[in-house]
């Protein structure tokens, strides 16, 4: 059984990639890696293209991270998705953007490209003419008396756009197929050639609810590439913001899931706590969602005494009120009736797709990027990573509940040990005078691990940046989790996943 390091050793090592190794490998090695994915020993962290290359980020059994790359002669490469389904949509996306043709890919329908861009393969060396709109063939479901329900892209609430095609037998969902890409903004295209400051703004606007996590993962990648040492205080402030973001989102989600089970009192109370978090964030860092507060090189704001006080009283309030809400959730039979055994995601699927966040952890996948591969300051903080095996809506609620408790503790620990000193260093352009620099970073957002891989050119601008939202590996699992449930339970299942549309569509 090979280790990832052996495969990378076998390839042509790229010298300037930090902190995890990357190597250009032969097709044989590429296929060997695919075998490891299929066997379930390794996990796929990401797959993305460049005009003449395809890259795959992997996590092996020893939890080592690495990237292997394959030269695509004539724009072709052997499809990973034909053997390992989690790569399917990633390959379809790379095909749309770069014109790369995965040989053997079983699903060649366009994914992000809806035929509206006026150009095809926009990120290829030579973009093509308009792709033209073609009708999208949804996958078939056959059987007696089946009917289809089409939902979206515009949904009936304050929700992001996407299309869901249900095939149902009576009330029971036989098949759900998602069609996404409606909010594709071409972020990776805009980043190419952009100065680091502009690219950082774009990264922070990839998924609004994870603006802190995205700013952080992008900043960490830039800093790794340029070899910048971030001041200690900034590292701790960033973690503080990240935990506040996690709190706000988890509190909002717990309430919203209960609301979909017609239990509005939880929604109201959780909504109040979420608003408290946003107000504390505003008082501490000057923005409710803390947008643009993390920059490559440090943070934009320092935390003063008033801000510290706001966060301390926030923690005190949540500690006082939240346990009552948890008790209410736990003791309300009508609510449990809706969440227990609903939308069950099998442990095998969570492992196969390397599902991050509460989706994976509610289905037995014990992974948290804060712990492994880990990053500062979490190595100096005490926290548990809750894991459950049930995989139903109820389990995803409980993972969030436990993570709220962990985040409260983390916030307290950070406030208690916040080092002094500066909060930012300049990212000097002369750092890149010696040519190309590549780096990769992995950060645990509230939804799961977010990956960024980027290359900075000799002129100090972003040459290529790829961002992989956790939703890429969660959306397909929603299709699996809803199977056999009733149509009316889709909203509660969907909310318990709470995948990002914008983060996925890019």
């Amino acid at each position: 059984m090979p280790a990832l390091a052996d495969l990378i050793e076998a390839g042509r090592r790229i010298e300037h990639q930090i902190p995890w190794p990357r190597a250009v490998v032969a097709p044989k090695t590429w296929n060997l890696a695919v075998e490891q994915l299929v066997s379930g020993r390794w996990s796929l962290l990401g797959l993305w293209g460049e005009p003449d290359k395809v890259h795959m980020a992997l996590l092996d059994e020893a939890l080592d991270v690495g990237v292997i790359s394959l030269d695509c002669r004539g724009g072709r490469y052997p499809s990973v998705g034909q053997h390992h389904a989690p790569a399917l949509r990633l390959e379809r996306a790379a095909a749309d953007l770069f014109g790369l043709a995965p040989q053997g890919l079983p699903d060649t329908r366009r994914w992000l490209d809806h035929g509206q861009w006026g150009v095809s393969h926009p990120l290829a060396a030579q973009p093509g003419g308009p792709a033209g709109a073609s009708s999208y063939r949804f996958l078939a479901a056959e059987g007696e008396s089946l009917h289809q329900i089409a939902v979206g892209p515009v949904h009936a609430g304050i929700i992001e756009p996407g299309h869901f095609r249900f095939t149902a037998g009576g009330e029971t969902v036989v098949r759900l197929e998602e069609r996404l890409g409606y909010v594709h903004k071409g972020i990776e295209g805009l980043m190419a050639g952009a100065p680091i400051e502009r690219a950082a703004k774009l990264a922070g606007r990839t998924s609004g609810d994870s603006t802190v996590a995205y700013s952080l993962v992008f900043a960490r990648a830039v800093e790794a590439a340029l070899g910048i040492e971030v001041p200690a205080r900034a590292i701790w402030l960033r973690a503080l913001m990240a935990e506040l973001e996690r709190l706000a989102n988890h509190l909002g989600d717990i309430g919203a899931i209960c609301n979909d089970a017609a239990f509005a009192i939880m929604h109201a109370h959780c909504g109040v706590l979420r608003e408290r978090v946003l107000r504390a964030a505003d008082a501490a860092f000057g923005h409710r969602l803390m947008r643009d507060r993390i920059l490559p090189g440090g943070t934009a704001n320092d935390l003063d005494e008033a801000g510290t006080g706001a966060i301390r009283s926030l923690v005190a309030e949540i500690r006082q009120r939240f346990p009552h809400l948890v008790e209410l959730y736990d003791n309300t039979a009508s609510l449990q009736d809706r969440t227990v055994a609903t939308g069950r995601l099998k442990v095998e699927f969570a492992r196969q797709y390397a599902a991050g966040g509460y989706v994976g952890r509610a289905s037995g996948r014990d992974f948290d990027a804060r712990r492994t591969p880990g990053y500062a300051p979490y190595d100096e903080l005490a926290f548990d990573v809750p894991v459950l095996q049930e995989g139903d809506v109820n389990a995803r609620v409980w993972i969030r509940v436990r993570e709220v408790e962990q985040s409260l503790s983390l916030v307290e620990q950070i406030l208690g040990r916040l080092p002094g000193g500066p909060i930012r260093v300049d990212i000097a352009a002369d750092n890149v005078a010696d040519g190309l620099r590549e780096a990769m970073a992995l950060v645990e957002g509230f939804r799961g691990d977010i990956m960024v891989w980027l290359r900075i050119g000799g002129d100090g601008t972003i040459e290529r940046c790829h961002m992989r939202d956790p939703s890429w590996f969660q959306w397909p699992l929603l299709e699996a989790a809803i199977e056999g449930n009733i149509v009316a339970d889709f909203p509660i299942c969907n909310k318990s996943f709470n995948c990002s549309y914008s983060g996925h569509d890019l």
Partner: protein, 189 residues
Amino acid sequence: MRKLLFESLIRPPLTERPPQVSDAAVDELARALDGVARKRLGRSLSIRAVDAGSCNGCELEMHALNNAFYDIERFGFRFVASPRHADVLLVTGPVTKNMREALKRVWDATPNPKWVVALGGCAKDGGCFAGSYAVVGGVSDVMPVDLHIPGCPPPPIEILKGLIALLDGANGKAGALQPPRRETSGQSN
């Protein structure tokens, strides 16, 4: 549940009221909004939110309008599920090319008289996504816009202020189908 309900009896309400809970501005705004909304529309304004490509930041702050602090429904403002029920389309995001057609259809499905509010910096002119192969631009590139509320994202209080401005405008031209286009003041980024 009993404990929570009992506590609610003895706790002061969260809903923004005189300065005590938070800014006096919210209360002032609440009174102004109430008067204007009542004058123009009796007591109701139905809002259909449409995400035409946003990062979801604006949606989060729209959701906040429904929480106990802002409780937008007490002014008669209501988020509705269908454009057929809407007076106002509240549109976010740079309009992506993949959403252009859907957005047009929502507009066509909304009965007159109708207003369009573009929410957030991206909805104005595409924001930092302008110029992308996948982005049309601002909402006004697809349909007439009556009001733009700036911010990235605009905090709930700014969205409320914007809605007042819209009603003020509508009152200035009572009976007209299309009120004057205008811009709210406030932070912009």
